[in-house]
Subunit: 522 residues, 2 copies
């Protein structure tokens, strides 16, 4: 497509190779071609050599590295066989990633591999991008770029075409919305950060569901808010006592299993008694439980919040992820559709339905608040990236979104089915409710603490999000969140490894010292 390609000179590659240290078993000797191939593989998987970069010709590289041409040729051949290199006569060789290879990773908190070098990240609840939709939308967005490139590229409220697309999607979902009610942000977290800074001061009370989204709870704590947790009710059984881990919680089940609900008498008590500044809720396919709150409950919460003068902050990051809702049932209306007094501020995101790498979210609020947030953000992030906004607008388009959504929901549905089966087989003592949507199962681990599981996991190459991250003050000690981000085909192996972690954790306190406080349970 472009007539210019990333080309790595022999000298540049030699420099990169010098910095690519392979884990070497002590005393091991391996042929030079295997070392070279292993180094190139490492550079590509860590993203230090971009995918699609043209490598030097064999002869030139041999000269630069003082190796024989045969060594380089054999290394290239090995890389081609593994899928890390592609060649075409006359065009040379360029780097590639094999089908199914892990993408270049962030080095911040890598999962330590087990003895066989395997890792399994169950800390993050997020999907890969829907392909080829993302790449195709990106290519179309690039074609629109020249019109924007003529300006300075700053859009504190958002690029108009995306504000229109988000407003249109709300209207389609049953909530008439105009573009001036939409502020485009850096993901949902950027939206929550802006709203929090504008509406919540140090010492302000904020009512939150228990459990709730770990990162928001932590962000509120950092901002000095006082959290007032309101536990979920579990019909068909007594509410699980946070941290008790007793067997009285929800039962495992397929369709028809009892779904958690808001405990409205508790909500009324908190709203009346504490008059919190804000109530933060995730009514649609809640993180971590996947619960979907009935419209009647939403109405009652809004009435109680209105009486208390409380702003309802509705986090709809997962609202489009109803993979267990019958195809002919209409998706839930946005909570703000029930609002008659402009007291609901909604946060949404392209990060969970589309892709987290886009970093596009939004706030839906009264135009005056949108303008205020836009004015304040010039001192933090200025605005969202233009190209990502154009891509999100393409994917949210009414002629694209149904196919993109179907793709992502089918994936989640398959994983949920595989996970339900595999947990029943390998960890029959764990209890959970199969939710109607969302990105995770919320699992009661019986007598095992989530923190002990997380610690044992760090020794077995498995990252686990312990339940206490989703509660305030040590609640949910005997829970973990299992994300639906693993492909269905990989679920049986993942749950077997989880069972091995559980066995080791049950083995007792031999696994001290590892830190389970990695912050990536997004």
């Amino acid at each position: 497509m472009a007539d210019w390609q990333t080309t790595v000179t022999p000298a540049a590659l030699a420099r990169l190779l010098a910095g690519a240290r392979l884990p070497e078993p002590p005393g091991a000797r391996r042929p030079a071609y295997r070392t070279l191939a292993g180094q190139v593989r490492l550079l590509v998987s860590e993203g230090r050599l971009p995918v699609g970069a043209r490598l030097p010709a064999e002869r030139e590289l041999a000269l630069a590295l003082r190796l024989s041409r045969t060594t380089v040729a054999t290394a290239y051949e090995a890389l081609r066989a593994e899928g890390y290199l592609r060649s075409r006569r006359g065009s040379g060789s360029w780097t590639a990633l094999p089908e199914g290879a892990a993408p270049p990773s962030d080095a911040l908190h890598p999962v330590p591999p087990d003895e066989q070098g395997r890792t399994l990240d169950l800390g993050v609840a997020a999907l890969p991008a829907p392909q080829p939709f993302l790449s195709e939308a990106a290519a179309r967005a690039v074609e629109q770029l020249p019109a924007y490139a003529a300006g300075h590229g700053h859009y504190p409220t958002g690029v108009p075409v995306l504000r229109e697309a988000v407003a249109r999607r709300y209207t389609e979902r049953g909530l008439p919305t105009t573009p001036d009610q939409i502020l485009i942000t850096i993901g949902a977290m950027g939206a929550l950060h802006l709203v929090q800074r504008a509406l919540i001061g140090r010492g302000d009370r904020v009512a939150v569901e228990a459990p709730s989204y770990a990162h928001t709870l932590q962000s509120l704590r950092i901002g000095g808010a006082r959290l007032v947790p309101v536990p979920y009710a579990w019909p068909g059984g007594p509410r699980p006592v946070p941290g008790s881990g007793s067997g009285t919680g929800p039962r495992r089940g397929a369709g028809g299993s009892p779904q958690p609900e808001w405990d409205l008498s508790e909500w009324r008590r908190v709203l009346t008694g504490a008059a919190p500044r804000v109530a933060y809720v995730i009514p649609d396919f809640h993180n971590p439980t996947g619960a979907l709150v009935r419209e009647e409950q939403r109405r009652e919460l809004l009435a109680a919040a209105r009486a208390a003068g409380t702003v309802v902050l509705a986090d709809e990051t997962t609202a489009e992820l109803g993979w267990g809702v019958p195809a002919d049932a209409p998706p839930p209306r946005p909570t703000a559709a029930l609002d008659r007094s402009a007291q609901v501020v909604t946060v949404g995101s392209a990060g969970k339905l589309l892709w987290g790498g886009l970093r596009i979210g939004w706030v839906r609020a009264a135009p005056a608040l949108v303008r205020r947030l836009a004015t304040e953000r010039v001192y933090s992030d200025v605005g969202a990236p233009v190209l990502d906004q154009l891509i999100a607008a393409e994917l949210l388009d009414e002629r694209q979104l149904p196919a993109v959504r179907a793709h992502q929901l089918a994936r989640l549905r398959d994983t949920a089915a595989a996970l339900t089966g595999a947990l029943g087989e390998h960890l029959p003592q764990w209890r959970f409710t199969v939710p109607p949507g969302g990105l995770s199962f919320w699992v009661s681990t019986g007598t095992l603490s989530g923190a002990a599981l997380a610690r044992a996991g760090e020794h077995l190459g498995v990252r686990i999000a312990a339940g206490n991250r989703f509660g305030s003050d040590g609640a949910f000690e005997h829970h973990i969140r299992i994300p639906l981000s693993v492909p269905a085909a990989a679920v049986p192996d993942a749950v077997e490894r989880l069972a091995a972690v559980a066995a080791r954790a049950a083995d007792g306190g031999r696994w001290h010292g590892a830190d389970d406080s990695h912050p990536l349970a997004v």
Copy 2:
């Protein structure tokens, strides 16, 4: 390239047209085709219709709008003539932007047009993107996207290939740097926001240059920092008394004009006396003055800061913009190259040299601080967008950057020359020093206050950044910042309009009520 194109259905276009209200002179009547053409033009320029969208066939649109086919055909013909529409037999018609048209704008704080409908934004100091470099790099980045799309897309420290590229660029500039010293952020403002939250508490003292970058000053104020301003020294004349506007300031001049410097005795007094937590400086082509601080002065500041236990926060957003430095002179070394005690934290950005619409900046710091900032940011912006990082890595590549930089510097150099000439002709009483680089001239407006100029400008379609935004507590009342963002060819007209604003401002206090506090002086 893609086999799918944005296509606007007749119904969708009818809906958009219904919301496109044209400014209509009272009593005016215009033919239906002109109204239709005007509405489409408005939708395209405001970005509500994306560029490249395929419009309905004439007959279909005529049917949907209940207009004659001739009316629609004439409107399309008018749009084609103006460059807002392109057609090809068999492929239909699609929207376009005419050469030189303004990009879709953000509606937050639009410049109010003058009586002839013209606007001139001198509030923002930022360049358009270097084209075709940006579009070409974006196309190459899209080809790399599939490898990243397989993961969740979260990179709290940054995508490895960009961390490598930024580290390599520092090394090229004389400061050996490894990727683990680099954190990729949402532009320079995102970098400053993270550093500020980590290092500066409420009530902490922060020493700042006077003048300094308006947005950082405001961000520090919002965070509760106590600002300690340290005025610049102007050799060849007494230091201009902030706010005095007396004629003792710098003289207009071409090469050889006296350049402002740090007043080191004042810096030593402040560092010793106030022991500020942080000293925030812009040593390279400073915003707003364009000043370049000599290496010897930097060394002395670092020594004094080290003695005081003060962290030096070096803002290098404009460091690559040395358009007035002789081509054979090496660009200034980064300030951190003079640092022997890891007390310098550097902020950089792709936003000024490349494009603000990319939203890519970075922090260069000790690896431990980089890891801490990355851990804390998961509660604000999580990470920078993947595709923008790949684009920035492409453009910072050692084989791309020289051409990109030459393109942007040539543009700045031409504008600076045109501005020097035009100011001398139309506003001979204003004084300024032609700087060796950066994005603006810092202009002393004599007896006119910058705020009065900004107010008068709002009535004449001209947005002006008043000098007091760049000082703490009302300093620099008789200054304005004139950005180099206008193309050289447009400078004579721009300065004529500025002179008209000055004439009206000099006319006295008749222009009350307009608000000059728009926040977009970036």
